[in-house]
Symmetry: C2
Amino acid sequence: MAPIKFSIEKELVNPTGRQLGRAGTLETPHGVIHTPAFVAVGTKATVKALTPEQVKSTGAEVILANTYHLYLEPGAERIRSFGHRHDGVGLRPDAVGGLHKFMNWQGPTMTDSGGFQVFSLGVAYGKELSKITKITDPSQMIALRSLDSEVPRLANIGADGVSFRSHHDGSLHYITPEKSIEIQHDLGADIIFAFDECTSPAEDFRYQEEALERTHRWAKRSLDHHHSLIRANGGINKQALFGIVQGGREESLRKRSAEFMKGLDFDGFGIGGSFSKDDMETVVKWVNEILPKDKPRHLLGIGEPEDLFMGVENGVDLFDCVAPTRNGRGGTLYTSRGKINIRNAEFREDTGPVDIECGCDVCKNYSRAYLCHLYRAHEMLGGTLGSIHNLYFIINLVKNMRQAILDNTFIQFREKFLDKYF
Amino acid sequence: MAPIKFSIEKELVNPTGRQLGRAGTLETPHGVIHTPAFVAVGTKATVKALTPEQVKSTGAEVILANTYHLYLEPGAERIRSFGHRHDGVGLRPDAVGGLHKFMNWQGPTMTDSGGFQVFSLGVAYGKELSKITKITDPSQMIALRSLDSEVPRLANIGADGVSFRSHHDGSLHYITPEKSIEIQHDLGADIIFAFDECTSPAEDFRYQEEALERTHRWAKRSLDHHHSLIRANGGINKQALFGIVQGGREESLRKRSAEFMKGLDFDGFGIGGSFSKDDMETVVKWVNEILPKDKPRHLLGIGEPEDLFMGVENGVDLFDCVAPTRNGRGGTLYTSRGKINIRNAEFREDTGPVDIECGCDVCKNYSRAYLCHLYRAHEMLGGTLGSIHNLYFIINLVKNMRQAILDNTFIQFREKFLDKYF
């Protein structure tokens, strides 16, 4: 039996006749996620600069940690065998360890597959490639491609897996689909992902197709190994496995990938890739029109407000992105009237909250002037408060989208929000 | 009328016949401090890496901020005129501003006088001089003195005040006793300090005497200006002023200083200085035998467990020190069996709490292994959790000393603690 249960509560009423968006609930062994939902990123088993209590105060229901980072440090085995409980005297080893206990987060967790890190340490290493890459004309793509031979890579992709050097100490590692699944079983998150290759939007069709075939083989192997580990564990399974759709910006490949993944026994799906911003909506549409409606879909690594609206309207149920916390640590804060850099001199005497429409703990208790002071004085509390605010802002935005779907007011809500935001 | 009320609840029963230590309460306009108490240091209007809620969770009753730092950034006037309250819609300017509102700390606050910063930017600038300086023989003192001419200073002391360059931008500033009191009135803390000169233990008698006479003149001027500002404010006074006893390691000077301060209308006293560890106890004894018993005494900048015991036994009511939070950020954590460096490899798989006898939120919920991971991964949460634990540890230690005074078990408690700690 699947360890998660996904139920659609209501579907988006879209005046264009197209109907993709939906509000639902995703039950996991560690609690319910109300979808669409924004997942807080806790790369190294910590949402940067925040305690789990602070993460909870932002409304976050689920945290996504990174397989690649935790495999290297502190090591998946350490997290698996780790466990403690408080028995009134002190902490004692428990029978069962895992990510939840290690980081003291009681709610649902996810781990990614490590595929994106392979991309960012491989072809994207040292370049300006990220989850969203601005590509305006084909010559730019060729220029990006031509860099391949000039920049050293930390990762190399083979048919069976990826060999890479640790960004910590240069030690050599080899990750196969089986290895990725084993690591993720050790970490013990509620939702895990099949091992995939995230390609650069600058790659040509031939490479995209070759990479996609690899990703598909790896998906099958991830699934098979997941099942064999479950069998070895007496059939007990507490982890849902999501397959990841790839295929770059190519319609034929994206559709082929969605059809392929649909045919496998995954509990849900990720939509992966490093996107050109203009391509993202078409890609999400192609894919979600094919993926089975009754399983959850996670648009990986995307989190700016306009992209969240696009995703929700097109049937995405889950999002994650480092932007809220990364921006928060740097002083770029979300407001209902767009992003502001709180370090700017104009905020030094501004006794108002970061965002007058925001209900987060930071906006209730602190002024822009105080936050401006903290960032200028390089005080760690600035990054903490900024991250709390940003995470609340983005999580709450997606929650409001969910409510708007339930209320049949999604289109109006989107227009009102984006009009003010931009 | 004095804005604070100090009451002694119980005096320490000391088998040697000497009776100095005491447990009491210090009522301030923002709440009660149970003495002896350890004051959390919030240099730039933030206890580094902690929210006020987290500071409160450590048991802290009072925060000390730094006049020098806040004068430079964000500026005392900004804090004075700052104010906000939450009225359900957002934050609105209030009639009255000040440090409490700026940093969102509801409890008692203190500000120091800026005198220690004058010392650390002046004679101590670029040298290994701090609140505690290890001096083992006189030749070392001469060596320290001889450095004076070689190392550039940022501060220069004159008869009327101190001129110094900002460590931020090199801008020139001049602080007199009157200016220090004005800044501290702007900041609005419950307890403020007279402007003083903190001397190096390496200075000779002649310089110590000269500096002490200056400190005494400045104390008188601080007090006079405090009273004239109160008169100008229609007699309303919400701030207690403490005078600071100086005099280095010289018995005659320390006693002269205590007698002088005793004769002035201060609400309490600070014991200042940069100490050689061996000198500290004798200095505290000389001074506290003279200072009036019915007013609180604050040993400035001291906070290691053994020094806290010494201070409490010898009649100190208040302590402050950056050590718990500075150590916490660096990974040096206090335990009942001494300090540990949590980054050490031995803790990577240690599922126990930092200190099995500690009742803080960190020891209840996290393991040494997780903290070790956070510090090694350079995660900000490490510094936050380490600071919460250390602050709780030290604050709770002083609270336990207080209880031991009330229970007539101070000497036993000290022996038991120090036996295990060292």
